[in-house]
């Protein structure tokens, strides 16, 4: 084969790979104007500075704690690596991956995920896993999370999963093919709207109140991982009223935290102390807090973290200060924008939220 022919073939192969990569970028969901939770995990990689605190867990972390309030009140830098229905093994591998990039002082895990011992849904898996950068942690997390009809190949080459979106592409898919706007505030999903708690769903009777083996295994591994990396692990239960947090579950976590000398904060029990008003601080009837509630939780939690672990106030560090000022500006801008939207439409149109009929 002469050099020209060889060169042509190499170019042809490169072209094919580029074309496939572009198609993959185009067809992957962008999670910009709807199901924005899908964007949370990947936003961590845009961070230029390290963090004192890393949060992991499900929606109870990324909707209920404001890292900007932690900064504004205590100068604590933090990031929420939370995801919708994030399973404990996903939290574990996210922590493992995070520790490759930085060694925070504290890792906070919301223990509601202990309720799941098996993979739950492909859609939630995707929201938690697609955003991770390719790494051995990601592959391990995929393997631990896959449902029966899922395949590793579809995570490694998302085109294989999302190819059927070809007939539902929108302008957004083209617009954000390479770059997306940030939608979170260090992993916090902001909501300014209010929907007070009216009724609380009756807790279901469970066949067993014992957490599963796999859940315990990953909690043990998380404890070990934090020890190895000299990171303090804190367990929290966010002040979401439901899904119901059973007393039996609470007792198990309490016992475990005492055994392993961990700090466990049940914020649901301390809702009054935190200052949560379920008439004004939640945007969906107690399931998640709105910005007001998230800021109250941040203030309460920040104080404990500062007192317990002596976290440093970074507000007088010019470099960090300028980074976080920019974050605060974006935070306030979005708050204003959402408030304006609420005023104009009565609901948050830009987040793909449906208008309430109440």
């Amino acid at each position: 084969m002469n050099k020209k022919k060889f060169g042509l073939r190499v170019a042809a192969v490169c072209f094919l790979f580029i074309a496939i990569w572009l198609l993959q970028r185009l067809l992957m969901p962008k999670y910009v104007s709807a199901i924005v939770e899908g964007s949370l995990i990947e936003e961590y990689y845009r961070e230029e500075t390290s963090h004192d605190v890393i949060f992991v867990g499900d929606c109870e972390v990324y909707e209920n704690i404001s890292p900007i309030a932690l900064w504004d009140n205590y100068g604590i830098t933090s990031f929420i690596r939370g995801g919708a229905q994030q399973l404990i093994w996903q939290s574990y591998y996210l922590l493992e991956e995070t520790f490759k990039y930085e060694k925070p002082e504290v890792a906070v895990f919301n223990i509601l995920a202990m309720q799941y011992d098996e993979p739950q849904s492909e859609a939630y898996n995707r929201l938690n896993l697609d955003g991770m950068r390719m790494s051995k942690e990601k592959i391990k997390s995929i393997n631990a999370s896959m449902m029966e009809d899922e395949h590793l190949a579809e995570y490694l080459f998302p085109l294989l999963r999302y190819h059927s979106r070809w007939n539902e592409l929108s302008w957004e898919d083209f617009k954000y093919i390479f770059n997306k706007d940030k939608i979170s505030h260090n992993g916090y999903y902001m909501r300014v709207d209010i929907q007070p708690v009216k009724t609380i769903p009756k807790p279901k009777k469970l066949p067993s109140y014992e957490f599963g083996e796999k859940a315990w295994e990953y909690l043990n591994r998380m404890v070990e991982l934090c020890k190895e990396n000299d990171v303090q692990l804190v367990l929290i239960k966010a002040p979401s009223i439901y899904p119901h947090w059973y007393d039996e579950w609470d007792a198990q976590i309490k016992e475990y935290s005492e055994e392993h000398d961990l700090l466990y904060i049940n914020l649901l029990q301390k809702a009054d102390e935190v200052g949560i008003d379920y008439n004004t601080d939640t945007y969906n009837g107690g399931l998640h807090l709105n910005i007001s509630g998230a800021e109250k939780v941040a203030v309460y939690l920040g104080n404990i973290l500062k007192e317990t672990y002596g976290l440093k106030d970074h507000r007088d560090e010019p470099e960090l200060s300028s980074v976080w000022q920019e974050k605060s500006r974006f935070y306030n801008e979005m708050r204003e924008k959402q408030l304006r939207e609420l005023e104009e439409y009565g609901y948050l149109k830009s987040l793909g939220v449906e208008k309430r009929e109440d």
Partner: protein
């Protein structure tokens, strides 16, 4: 491991790499290991069946070969001492020994096939008859799994042993090479049914890395996947909706189902064979073609010479010819010559052989009356066509339209419609339902419903129909181009830009428009079940 699965693609990719890295003399050994590994993934217990077939055929083949050798040696050593009559007696004795080995091998292997594939069908029929005559019909069904590709590898292996018995070639001395012939994985699941003298020419040879083989093989694989995942698996959704609810989908929808199934089966089966031949080609192995643009046939008889060719020739060479020339058939021939007019006397034995062959062909396809009736319907149409041949000739002598394009197109469409109608027996749950659905096409006049949006309730969107239409147009175009010879060879002579644009478009079409992954049910090839 399904052909249309990620695991299989990884499997063959790794195999291709190792195949060309290892010393060439071990290539066939690697293929044997790969074939058994492939079969292991289908079900570890199935290995027992394929090993039993291999070992029994090997032993029978070697014994037949030894008898043939000793016969040749004995006759050569005693050439002068033996009279012609003594030689004949000796030959007959040896032939009888060989026949016993052949018979034992055939009974053993067809016996396995019969037990695993047909026992529940037999039990169901016994129960049915028992109930009809007032019995309980209480024989319970056997919980026995059908090993993957058993019909294919049994027929292929029995073809080998019959050829050895006929002295067409010597038996394979190396059991592992025979094992590879039996289990060669690309053709294990749905054929083609290869002949030993064809396949062994390249199967056990050393194959250097040849760009053309790799390139052409990969193109064929991609084309096969296009047919399978873009067309067959997409149209399958509508076909399943239509045939699983015959009460709702009658009349026009039965017609749509019939045509859709014809397209699905074509894309599915020919796509699978393209993948098989393509894989073999990448490995440097030549596997016989199984199709010759069958939907361009002008009669059902021609269609069966162009569709699943290796199965057709198997039945011809190992069943029809031996049956037609058997002593029993000769007796029937004598009888009919004596009792009927000369024409019928000659034709009746042919009819009997033809009916037996088509009955068996139907049974081979599946253990149900649907397939048996399907086979007999094919037989009926072929026999009627043969018998009406003088009438056709008379018609064409009067009306000279035989060579016009219009008439040829008419013949092609007529054949496709006819074979599609017969294929309805593949689809519906039983024979009466099939007849009822066929009848509904002429009695239920709901053809307007095809245009009122009902077609969008079959599981396919407008976009899906668009993709299907485009896919079928591509399929037709390729078939038309094939008339001038190999499409790949014709493509290879085109400028790089055009060539690569076509390759890439096809590959990307599979990736984007393929009905695979989450949200789609991964479908086996239809012929896997046979």
């Amino acid at each position: 491991m399904l052909f249309a699965s990620y695991n299989f693609i990884v499997f063959i990719s790794v195999l291709f790499i190792i195949y060309y890295i290892i010393p060439k003399k071990y290539q066939w050994v690697l293929l044997l290991l790969a074939s058994y590994l492939f079969y292991f993934f289908a079900g570890p217990s199935y290995l027992i069946y394929i090993a039993a077939t291999t070992i029994s055929t090997y032993i029978a083949g070697r014994m037949i070969g030894n008898i043939a050798q000793s016969q040749a040696r004995y006759l050569s050593e005693h050439k002068k001492e033996l009279t012609r009559g003594e030689k004949r007696v000796y030959r007959d004795r040896q032939k009888s020994k060989m026949w016993r080995w052949l018979l034992a091998c055939l009974l053993f292997n067809f016996g396995i096939l019969a037990v695993v594939k047909y026992s529940n069908f037999v039990i169901a029929n016994i129960n049915h008859i028992s109930k009809a005559v007032g019995g309980t019909g209480g024989f319970s069904f056997w919980n026995i799994a059908l090993p993957m590709g058993i019909s294919f590898y049994t027929f292929q292996t029995m073809g080998y042993i019959i050829d050895v018995y006929r002295g067409k070639y010597s038996p394979e001395k190396n059991i592992f090479k025979l094992a590879l012939f039996v289990s060669f994985f690309p053709q294990l699941v749905q054929g083609p049914i290869s002949r030993f003298d064809d396949l062994s020419q390249t199967l056990f040879k050393e194959h250097p890395f040849e760009y053309r083989n790799i390139s052409f093989g990969l193109q064929r694989i991609v084309w096969g996947y296009f047919k399978k995942v873009v067309i067959a698996d997409r149209i399958m959704v509508a076909v399943n909706t239509l045939i699983k609810d015959p009460e709702t989908y009658q009349g026009a929808f039965a017609l749509v189902g019939m045509l859709f199934y014809a397209f699905q089966l074509y894309a599915d089966f020919t796509g699978g064979i393209d993948i098989t031949i393509g894989i073999a080609e990448v490995l440097g192995i030549k596997v016989k073609e199984n199709f010759d643009r069958p939907y361009f046939s002008k009669s059902i008889a021609e269609y069966w010479r162009r569709w699943h060719i290796t199965m057709g020739t198997w039945f011809r060479d190992y069943l029809f010819y031996p049956l037609s020339t058997s002593k029993g058939m000769m007796k029937i021939y004598k009888f009919t010559r004596q009792h009927f007019n000369p024409y019928l006397g000659k034709r009746i034995p042919v009819y009997i052989s033809t009916i037996i062959v088509w009955f068996t062909t139907g049974l081979w396809h599946g253990s149900s009356w649907n397939f048996i009736v399907w086979g007999l319907m094919n037989c009926f149409v072929i026999v009627i066509s043969q018998e009406l041949e003088p009438l056709y000739s008379w018609f064409h002598s009067k009306v000279r339209i035989g060579n016009t394009i219009g008439f040829r197109v008419f013949q092609v469409i007529r054949t496709v419609l006819l074979l599609s109608a017969i294929r309805m027996f593949d689809c519906y749950r039983d024979v009466p339902t099939t007849f009822r659905m066929f009848g509904s096409m002429f009695t239920v006049f709901n053809y307007r419903e095809l245009f009122n949006g009902s077609m969008l309730n079959l599981g396919l969107s407008m976009a899906d129909y668009g993709v299907l239409l485009l896919g079928l147009v591509i399929l037709l175009t390729v078939s038309l181009v094939q008339r001038k010879g190999s499409v790949r060879a014709q493509l290879a002579s085109r400028p790089h830009l055009i060539r690569y644009a076509i390759y890439y478009a096809l590959l990307i079409a599979i990736l984007i428009f393929g009905a695979y992954g989450v949200g789609y049910d991964s479908s086996q090839f239809i012929y896997n079940q046979f």
